[in-house]
Symmetry: C2
């Protein structure tokens, strides 16, 4: 059985090795092919590993790093002095051929900048984008990008996101000729910000993209489109707004302030039973379940985990990376893009 | 009993007089002091009124208008040729002293521009903002603005919104020394767009504002702050994202694809019972219930209804206008602002 090697930035995110090391053990249990390179402070990693006494220790290697890029660091500055950081070393392991993908819960801007610097974007892409798959009401999935890698985007960057989103929808969700929409505050062409209107004009001229116009945020989960394109600021706000609302919804099922009577016991049971029906529909909107956003537009797989991810959530992000390598997603995006670009010169 | 006179733009929104005329009858039933001036196409209004044969007809006056500003019109263009439109005439009725407030479900940009032109902003305010009150997890309410009146905002505009939000939280929600936060994609000072960082710097220097820094979108409903400030594009996207998620949540309780067996009958009853518990918590996040956003920063009350509002939702918007007039909200904002400004010269 051929190994699949992932480099994990164990120092990134709110909890570092405390969460990421046990998550790697959980992932090793789930994927027999997986080998993990744990990049970080060796003594911190070892002290967590000791607690677990895992049988998968032979599929783990500790790669020492000296420093960490914190969430407070300005990406441009952090990248300049990134040489000995866990994030940089994890990415360099891909470049040197020692790992096939990387997972990090660290500083989003730095991860995006370093990935671009170390791994290089695919031909035709200026800047990689963060993307995920939103479950929608019609039981399918919508590709949404960018989720925060690029705070301010030009019209042509949004067009590139539309192309990458199309490829992801085709290759991962399995949609033939997927519909693409730009997120905006109205459906009329005159609405919104300049970059969105500019992207709309260009997209209307690209025959290989099935552009359907603007979509409003109240239709994000309605399944009206297969790909939703927005800048990283809007994407991040939108996803976190959903997360906040879903957390409030889930809290209804989790909390109980009632006293312990037989009546309450029955109610708790009905709540539990109902929450099962509910979860069936919302399982993938629960942030613990959908954790792991693809950084697309690079020659290799880089997965960004939520900074506050717990163990199970980080495991999900590792599994995403495994799937991306197994399905050869970056290669497929590059192939499809080069086809599109050969038909579509001077499209932006 | 002294009358309270509202001018209603009956031609705005997706449904026009069909929804707005019955909504006015519903509001007249709820508020004995209310008198409505129905601005619009007289024959269309009369044909709807005929169907209802209401006993409140003596508290209604039809004010003829010749044209309508559509949602597709560019605000700047629409305003130039607005002379005979229902929206303009409704606002002029306030200016001439014939009405105390206006409610419209029409083009947001045009309503904002025309209100500014006809009614003038309060001293110290460059541009009015759309605002509403979000219920939060700690059973209070958060003032959020702007929701779409100003798509692009400078740092100093965001500061003005922070001041207006503070006054609204004090005067309407009843919070003493309310906390104010800027919506951003991280909590660190270096995060986000230039205008947000600039506003943050200014807000730190204003002692009469209790500025607590950035808030992320997953905490919108967490009750961590009393006022949330953002530009109109972000505000609109955020509110509509919430609306979309809530609609999906509510659909779980409303739809049933099961067949009609005794088992399903029992399930439907439990769903109904559970939805009651659920609604109790979420009633104010249901778009039909929270309809009606204040356009604040003007000398008079202007309420913007959701374009797709149904009858009950539009009635809610009328009731908002009644409350604003009764509580003298615009006057209180102006008073508080002039106090703040006299202490705080050159703050932006």
């Amino acid at each position: 059985m051929k190994h699949l090697v992932l480099a994990l930035d164990t120092m990134g995110g709110d909890f570092g090795p405390r969460v990421i090391v046990p998550a790697s053990l959980e992932a090793l249990d789930l994927c027999p092919r997986l080998v993990c390179l744990l990049v970080g402070n060796p003594s911190m990693i070892r002290s967590v590993l000791k607690k677990f006494n895992s049988k998968y220790i032979n599929r783990l290697t500790i790669i020492p790093s000296k420093s960490v890029i914190s969430d407070n660091d300005r990406p441009s500055q952090a990248i300049r002095v990134s040489k000995d950081t866990s994030m940089r070393i994890a990415l360099e392991l891909i470049k040197s051929g020692n790992a096939q993908a990387c997972v990090s819960a660290g500083n989003t801007g730095a991860l995006m900048g370093l990935s671009k610097l170390v791994l290089k974007p695919i031909n035709g892409i200026d800047r990689p984008a963060l993307t995920t798959f939103l479950p929608h009401q019609n039981k399918g999935k919508t590709v949404i990008l960018d989720l925060g890698a690029n705070i301010a985007c030009s019209g042509s960057m949004l067009v590139q996101f539309a192309i990458m989103g199309t490829v992801l929808s085709e290759q991962i969700v399995g949609i033939g000729n997927p519909k693409v929409a730009l997120l905006n505050i109205g459906s009329e062409e005159s609405k919104g910000l300049d970059n969105i209107r500019q992207a709309s004009k260009i997209l209307h001229t690209i025959s290989s993209i099935r552009y359907i116009g603007y979509i409003e945020a109240n239709d994000l989960l309605a399944g009206k489109t297969d790909v939703i394109v927005c800048d990283g600021f809007i994407g991040n706000i939108t996803l976190k707004t959903m997360e906040g609302v879903i957390r409030v919804v889930l809290s209804v099922f989790q909390k109980s302030e009632e006293k312990n009577t037989i009546y309450c016991y029955v109610i708790e049971h009905i709540k539990h039973w109902f929450s099962k029906i509910f979860f069936k529909k919302f399982i993938q909107l629960n942030p613990d379940r959908y954790n792991g956003a693809y950084l697309v537009g690079l020659h290799n797989t880089v997965i960004k985990s939520h900074g506050g991810a717990n163990q199970h959530a980080f495991t999900k992000a590792i599994i995403q990376a495994v799937h991306s390598v197994e399905r050869r997603i970056p290669e497929k995006i590059a192939d499809r893009l080069s086809q599109m670009l050969s038909y579509q010169n001077n499209y932006y």
